[in-house]
Symmetry: C2
DNA sequence: TTTTTGTTAATAGTAATACTATTGTATATT
DNA sequence: AATATACAATAGTATTACTATTAACAAAAA
């Protein structure tokens, strides 16, 4: 699985200096994921991160121009990672139905395994995407950042899965809305099931959220 | 329509002093909605609000203990308003199918009319709910705040509409997930259609989002 | 009328935050 | 060995969210 790492590529415009190019950079990313997970995005600061990695606040600014772009970098890394798993996991499947089911599973299910060969903990990263991910685009700078390509990976991923939907049912008029509803929905359903369970119908022991979206999409496009 | 206002009740624990009880309180709420809309939640400060309403920053702290609880107040006011419109708009409908359709329309469609009798601009408030609303529960304090009843109005609303679903199809296993998926989904689909349109399939001239969710739900529960 | 009481807002702060300008230091190149 | 470059650390600034204290003012009581 560690070969996948090579294919996770984040656009270089998202950071001032590639964090993979130095030990300090890897520490910033690795510890940053841990800390945002522990204390939440709002409480997390570059100063605290600097203390944890035995470095200085301003050194971090050499890699990322702001706390916000660090989060944008995480989100893009995550979607790039998911995209590779999607391409890899569907290329040997024959029917679009199988490919779509694989995609649903990949995007909706909880990430449970961590590739320990990397300095990035994918389990924690998945939790950040669920709890903090939407803060990346709920900003007044959205149009500027969109133009800079901050959301390119995500848009490409939605397009790929929409293509599976269209391969099954070419006349379905809302493939993008269906898939973005699923991806975003899966995230806050997981969040709700943990913190506001009365907004969900989750039961322990089985992945109700995967079941729900699989069924929802099958019925929508049939 | 202005009689509805009487029925919009926000739990008193959400503010230190009821803003409806004084002119200053009404200014805080009214101008606060305007300013968050213009500059976004992050850039908005109590200091700037104080300047705009000809008052002092600290006077605002007499009404709301923080910027965050002001947003929580707005969200609760909004859901309370929607809940009243739902109860009022469905009580003379006979079938659960009609009631559910009414609920979908009420929750998914854009708010276009402003009740000018009030100091609260519902059109702007709807925009805040769409662009900033999720920031209310994506916080590390979620469990604390949930216990204090910060999300009670929202949970009650989801329950009401889930009951319509169950009246139509008692065996449907995911009514709450279906409705919370719709409500949250409708918000970011509107946001996406404006800022990241390639994630949607919206066309100008017709309300594709209402169509999409109406069809999605009908097919899901049939 | 004077005094007391309670409610309101304004003043003037604090600690912490995001971010930057500048200086120092190690490494590589000539 | 001298110079150039890349890097990180120091030490800041402006702004933020929030608070402790004081002042204004009205109604009620003496």
């Amino acid at each position: 699985m560690e070969n996948l790492k090579i294919n996770v590529v984040v656009d270089s415009s998202l950071c001032l200096k590639n964090p993979e190019s130095s030990e300090l950079g890897k520490k910033i990313v690795g510890k940053g994921i841990e800390m945002i997970n522990e204390m939440g995005y709002e409480s997390f600061t570059f100063k605290k991160l600097g203390e944890q990695i035995g470095s200085n606040e301003s050194s971090i600014y050499r890699y990322f121009e702001s706390k916000h772009t660090l989060l944008v970098y995480f989100v893009n890394w995550y979607w790039s990672w998911i995209e590779y798993k999607l391409v890899f996991g569907t290329m040997n499947l024959n029917t679009p139905e199988e490919k779509l089911n694989k995609a649903i599973q990949l995007l909706v299910e909880d990430v449970k395994e961590d590739n320990s060969f990397s300095y990035i903990n994918e389990v924690l990263l998945n939790k950040i995407i669920i709890s903090e991910g939407s803060k990346v685009y709920y900003t007044k700078e959205i149009d500027n950042e969109n133009q800079k390509g901050y959301y390119a990976t995500y848009k490409r991923l939605v397009q790929r899965i929409s293509d599976f939907v269209l391969a099954i049912q070419p006349s379905y008029p809302y493939p993008h809305m269906l898939i973005s509803t699923m991806i975003e929905g899966a995230h806050y359903q997981r969040y709700f099931s943990k913190h506001l369970p009365s907004l969900t119908d989750t039961e322990s022991g089985e992945d109700t959220i995967v079941k729900f979206y699989t069924e929802l999409i099958q019925r929508a496009i049939k």
